[in-house]
Structure formats: structure tokens, C-alpha cells
């Protein structure tokens, strides 16, 4: 891509949400609006390298997209005429044709909401929802999405085409859920946003820069959702969770890319702006009565770390209680394992070991390396060195990540040295 292309893409990306939402309103069809928004980009890429980026690129893109939309409406009218449904078509045109200019000045809130809910429709496969959301809400190109997800471009392109066809064919291309359906659909939206975030959060050193950038796309999506749905507590909870997690990004790995665990992280590298935003989002979720939500509880746990100036200052008793609430809401052996870690810190290793021994029979944790690494840690603190060493070895043999495996082997070896 040339510099000129990158500059054009940047200008288009800023204009993209308004373009797609106003076209969707005009055409009553989100997937079609997305096609036309892309066509406006293609037109810009054709014209602007010669003419330069216009002073008001927004207006240029809008006019171009509008022309394309009107062309489309005329074509559609012709088609419909053939089928002798002239009256219907005219009626539809009357509703939709004059809309665009006023639509551009209007608040795009409702349309944005519709866009988000359409892209994250539960009828679509999960991967397709993520790809469609990145494309329709964030304005990423198919090539960028493919790079970010380490997937072949053709695969992503096909995923997007198929998803848009599914939406169009099942008549889901322009609808907003209301009432009880809304909360169910909202959880699908939040799930997609969190999936995108975690994909970015798992990026390793040396990865394409677009991968970690997914975290920011997810954050932007959550903020955009909150801007149009400010009273959804779990949206605030998820935003808080992501902001607080992302705030530690710089402290999570060392120069060699090896993971640095929470107790050893340099808290000076934590992003204060992001922590402040995360705590604000959490406070918002709690003020709206959503303290007990799935995402809000997880955010509250991380907030305990964010608030602690030093590891030793961590409010473990509160973390234990929050994990207890999380378990009640969403029972899972992984959450219980995390609760055990907190119990170990708040009440001592012996109390945590009791929980862990209960968890050993759990089929889901049978080959989960962290169960053994946590147990090894507790046993080491209790002075049961031989058992601890054995557990660290088991953990190492179960870990799939090379860096983690090496770290666990080092811990096993460290116990030998002290024995």
C-alpha cells in the first residue's frame, strides 16, 4: 500500500460510520449500505491520488455514496416495475429517496445501534460476527482483518460474504431488537467485542502490529455501544474489564517476550489514563445497579489490582468475595481455581489447598496446567517441596505454550536448589 492509499483509507475510516449508518437508513438494508460504503472508498482510491484529498472528504464521500445509493434505488425500481409492483416501489422510494441529507445531520444513535446488532447477530457464526463487526463498525478492510486474525484473506472474505448473504436472505439486514430480546442480543454483541479484545490481548512480540491493535478496536466498539446505549450495565462492565486489562499491556512481558506475572510486574508501566477510564466505567456499571454482572464482577476483581500501589497492598479478601459472587452467577472450575488463588493470599495456602483438592476430580481441569502450577505454588509455600516440584513438572508437561513451559520448569528447578 502506498502512503497516498494509507492516507485515503484513514480519511475514509473516519467518515465510514456516518456513511454506513445514513445509507442504511436510506436503503433500510445494512449489508447493502456496507457494500455502497465500500464502493465510495473504491471511488476515492481511484480519484484522490490524482486530485489530492479534497478539503472536505466527508462531503465528497457522502455525495458519491449517495449517488451510488440513488443508482441502486433506480435499478431496484426498474426491477420492481418489471414485476408490476410499481406502486409499492414508489411508496418505498418516497420514504427513502429524500432522506440522506437530513439523515447526515441527525443523530446517528439508532442507526449505530442497528449496525452493531446486525453485525453481531447470533444467527451468524462467531468468527463471522467478529469479522463483520470489524468491517462494518470499525472500517477495517478484509485484508486487515485477515492479518489481525492470522487467517488467509480469502477465508475472511468468504466469511464476510456468506454472513452478509445470510443476513439479507433471512431478512435480518435491517432490524433492531427491542424489549426482552434486546438483552439476549446484547450478550451476543458483548461476546463478540470481548472475543476481538482477547484476540488482540494474546498477541505476542513480533506479531503484526494489527493484532494488538484489535484491543483498541474492541475498546472503541464498546465505547461506541455505550454512547448509544448508556444504561446497559454489562456494556460498562465489559468496557471496564477491557480498559483495566489493557492498562497492564506494557508490563506483561519482558524484552524477550516472556510473560511477567502480576506480582513481578513494574506497576509504573501500567497505563494510568486507561486505569482511570476503567475505574470510571466500573463505577458507572455499579451506579446503574450492575455490580453483580458477569463482566462487572470480573472488572471489579481486576480493579482491586489496579488500585493497589504495590502487590502487597492487594485487597485479597475483597477478591475472594468477588470470585464467590462470580461462582454463584456462573459456576465454573476455572473461576473456582482463581478463587482458590485469592483464598491462598487472603487466608493462607492451607485453606486454598482444600479447594484445590476438591477441584482435582473436575474433568475440565484434568489436563489444565494452571491447576498444577497453582497447587505447586501452594505446596511450596507450605514447605512440601517434593510434592511441589512434582506438580510444577506436571504443569510444565501440560502447558502448550513454550514460554510458559520453560517458566514452569524453572520454578520446579528453583525448588530443588532450595531443598
Amino acid at each position: 500500500m502506498t502512503d497516498a492509499h494509507r492516507a485515503i483509507l484513514a480519511v475514509w475510516r473516519i467518515a465510514q460510520p456516518r456513511l454506513i449508518t445514513s445509507l442504511a437508513r436510506m436503503l433500510r438494508d445494512v449489508p447493502l449500505a456496507e457494500d455502497l460504503t465500500q464502493e465510495a472508498l473504491v471511488a476515492a482510491l481511484e480519484h484522490w491520488p490524482a486530485t489530492g484529498i479534497p478539503e472536505k472528504p466527508d462531503a465528497w464521500l457522502t455525495a458519491t455514496a449517495k449517488r451510488k445509493a440513488l443508482d441502486h434505488l433506480r435499478r431496484r425500481k426498474m426491477l420492481v416495475r418489471k414485476h408490476a409492483q410499481v406502486a409499492h416501489a414508489l411508496e418505498q422510494d418516497e420514504q427513502t429517496m429524500p432522506d440522506l441529507d437530513s439523515a447526515l445531520d441527525d443523530d446517528i444513535g439508532d442507526e449505530m445501534l442497528r449496525l452493531i446488532f446486525t453485525a453481531c447477530h447470533p444467527r451468524l457464526p462467531r468468527d463471522a460476527r467478529a469479522a463483520l463487526a470489524l468491517r462494518m463498525i470499525c472500517g477495517l478492510t478484509t485484508a486487515e482483518i485477515a492479518r489481525a486474525f492470522l487467517a488467509p484473506e480469502a477465508t475472511v472474505a468468504q466469511r464476510i460474504t456468506r454472513a452478509k448473504r445470510t443476513l439479507s436472505e433471512s431478512g435480518l439486514g435491517y432490524e433492531t431488537p427491542r424489549g426482552p430480546e434486546l438483552s439476549q442480543r446484547l450478550s451476543s454483541v458483548l461476546e463478540v467485542i470481548y472475543l476481538i479484545f482477547n484476540e488482540g490481548y494474546s498477541a505476542a512480540r513480533g506479531d503484526d502490529w494489527l493484532r494488538p491493535e484489535l484491543c483498541n478496536e474492541a475498546l472503541r466498539m464498546a465505547r461506541a455501544l455505550i454512547a448509544v446505549k448508556p444504561r446497559e450495565t454489562e456494556a460498562h462492565g465489559l468496557l471496564a474489564l477491557m480498559e483495566l486489562n489493557a492498562s497492564r499491556a506494557a508490563a506483561r512481558t519482558d524484552a524477550a517476550g516472556d510473560p511477567i506475572l502480576l506480582p513481578d510486574q513494574d506497576r509504573g508501566l501500567w497505563d494510568r489514563i486507561q486505569i482511570r477510564r476503567g475505574l470510571q466505567a466500573l463505577a458507572q456499571a455499579e451506579e446503574l445497579g450492575g455490580a453483580g454482572g458477569f463482566y462487572a464482577l470480573q472488572a471489579a476483581i481486576i480493579a482491586c489490582h489496579a488500585r493497589a500501589g504495590m502487590y502487597a497492598d492487594t485487597d485479597w479478601a475483597r477478591i475472594v468475595s468477588l470470585y464467590g459472587h462470580l461462582m454463584a452467577l456462573h459456576p465454573s472450575p476455572i473461576i473456582e481455581l482463581n478463587r482458590a488463588v485469592a483464598v491462598g493470599m487472603a487466608q493462607g495456602p492451607a485453606a486454598a489447598l482444600v479447594i484445590l483438592d476438591r477441584l482435582r476430580g473436575e474433568p475440565a481441569l484434568k489436563s489444565y496446567h494452571l491447576l498444577f502450577s497453582v497447587r505447586g505454588d501452594l505446596l511450596a509455600k507450605l514447605g512440601r517441596r517434593e510434592e511441589a516440584r512434582a506438580d510444577f513438572h506436571t504443569a510444565a508437561s501440560l502447558a502448550t505454550n513454550r514460554r510458559e513451559r520453560e517458566m514452569l520448569e524453572r520454578r520446579a528447578a528453583a525448588i530443588c536448589d532450595h531443598a
Binding site: R6, I53, D58, A203, P212, E213, A249, T253, G257, L269
Partner: protein, 122 residues
Amino acid sequence: MRVMYLVKSNHPGPPTPELGAAIGKLTEREVKAGRLLDQGGLMPISMGAEVRIADGKLSLIDGPFVEAKEVVGGYAVFELRDKEEAIAMANEFMQLHKDLMPGWYGTCEVRFFATPPHNPHP
């Protein structure tokens, strides 16, 4: 990447109402898009002060003093994709000044936050 914009000018006088309104709309749009993290205007430097070290000596320069150079009148912090996006945003912001406050002159400095060298998350 995180970007700070510093708007510098020594053009006297507050923004025209039209410019103020347009900046307000832009700000709202960017908050809703999730890109704008923080922004604000600054009072004239004549109402502030400067603490300076020159020739190894610390000195306080307290206002009021004459503003001869371009000073920072406002700032904004954005989370953006890349340098191109950062420049596009600055262009849009400055275009508003050109259109809605004739005679205004100044600079919008685009500055990227420094990140630790081994941070995979820029």
C-alpha cells in the same frame, strides 16, 4: 497508538461561535466513536506562570506578560490506528478553523505517546 494534539497560536480572541459549535459537534462525534479520550482548552499563558531553569538557575516567571510566541491554547488525546489517521483527524480539525474563523492562524501539533520499547501493544 495514543496521540496528543497541541493547538498553538498567538491569534488573539476566542473562537467564533460557529467554530465553537463545529468543534463541539466534532468532539461529540469522536467521543461516540470511542476515539477521543480527553480534551480541553487552556487559559492564556498570561494567567499562568513558567518555572524555568537557565544557566543552572531556577526562576519563576509569573504573569502577566506579553504573548509574543505561539502558545498552546488547547489539547486533545486520541486513541487512533496509525499516523495517517492522526493526520486526517488534525486536517479535519484545522479545516474547521479555516472555514469558520477567517483570519485565524496557528499550528496543530501531532505528537505520539512514547511506549516502552518491548511493548507489543503500541
